[in-house]
Assembly symmetry: D3
Homo-oligomer: 64 residues x 6
């Protein structure tokens, strides 16, 4: 209340996740005026074989 869910490709380090949830929480507190303790963030990682854009799996895309 509010709850944030972030869908991202797998492979981020704990350091990046730690910084991300901190900054996202600050953005919510600043703009919605809710207590920091009320904000939850869930990171949902998806394998490259389980996500597609334009009908093509990320696992099948050329690097770039």
């Amino acid at each position: 209340m509010p709850e944030l869910v972030v869908y991202l490709l797998e492979g981020r380090s704990v350091e990046h996740k730690r910084a991300l949830v901190k900054d996202l929480t600050s953005a919510v507190v600043k703009n919605l005026g809710v207590p920091q303790e009320s904000v939850t963030v869930s990171l949902v990682e998806t394998a490259r074989t389980d996500k597609a854009k334009g009908g093509v799996l990320f696992a099948d895309m050329k690097a770039g």
Copy 2:
């Protein structure tokens, strides 16, 4: 119809999950008057490095 999704931290036993989905389904059937067979429950487990409260990862919290 209805579909329930439960977001929880990882680490629950199958016994606890079995009892949980049974009781949740009963609560829906009792209060919404739908057939038991129409109720689905999905449990979505999150690692402690992937969930935060108050801007802090559960993996970084003190036990308590």
Copy 3:
């Protein structure tokens, strides 16, 4: 922590919703051993024109 989301067709009364979230929360507290205050429940209502089973919108189904 845990967070429950319930997807249901629109049209339930507040009385039914009140009783439903109470029973669902009790089921979680009983089976997962978490504090009652930590449980959140969100009800997401869907119009009959926005939900389908077997490829047919609920709005197009015969009553029964």
Copy 4:
């Protein structure tokens, strides 16, 4: 925009996933008139111990 999320039991091959996201994307492009590149699909796999129908875990169901 649009984003599709598909909740399915674990165990599908990459070949099946590849064909599925392709056909789902085509269905969206055909019916909503959006550019193919704007469509994303996420597949969320659930273990048989984490999903239930009628109050029973899939892991506990008889085959058939």
Copy 5:
């Protein structure tokens, strides 16, 4: 089982929704080999004031 959720901007006609859920269901049946009756589709519409890309609300974007 499987359940599909489609997040889209509001404003589609019932005719487009009807055709969309039909084609999405066919894509799932064809590629996953599940019974048609087991497939559910939920359409979740979002207002243009409630969705953003690149940090900009759709309500604030120029037509194009």
Copy 6:
């Protein structure tokens, strides 16, 4: 990629929403190193009769 979903109680102004999605997007770009254009944010508002904490609907809570 990444996609953010924010579940919040209804009643925020467009100004607050505009600032929120801007700051959330910046937090993602800064910490994950993805292009700004690839970030989408969806705000999902819930009525006070459709959300509960501790088994009690927000509509039934005392102000405070």
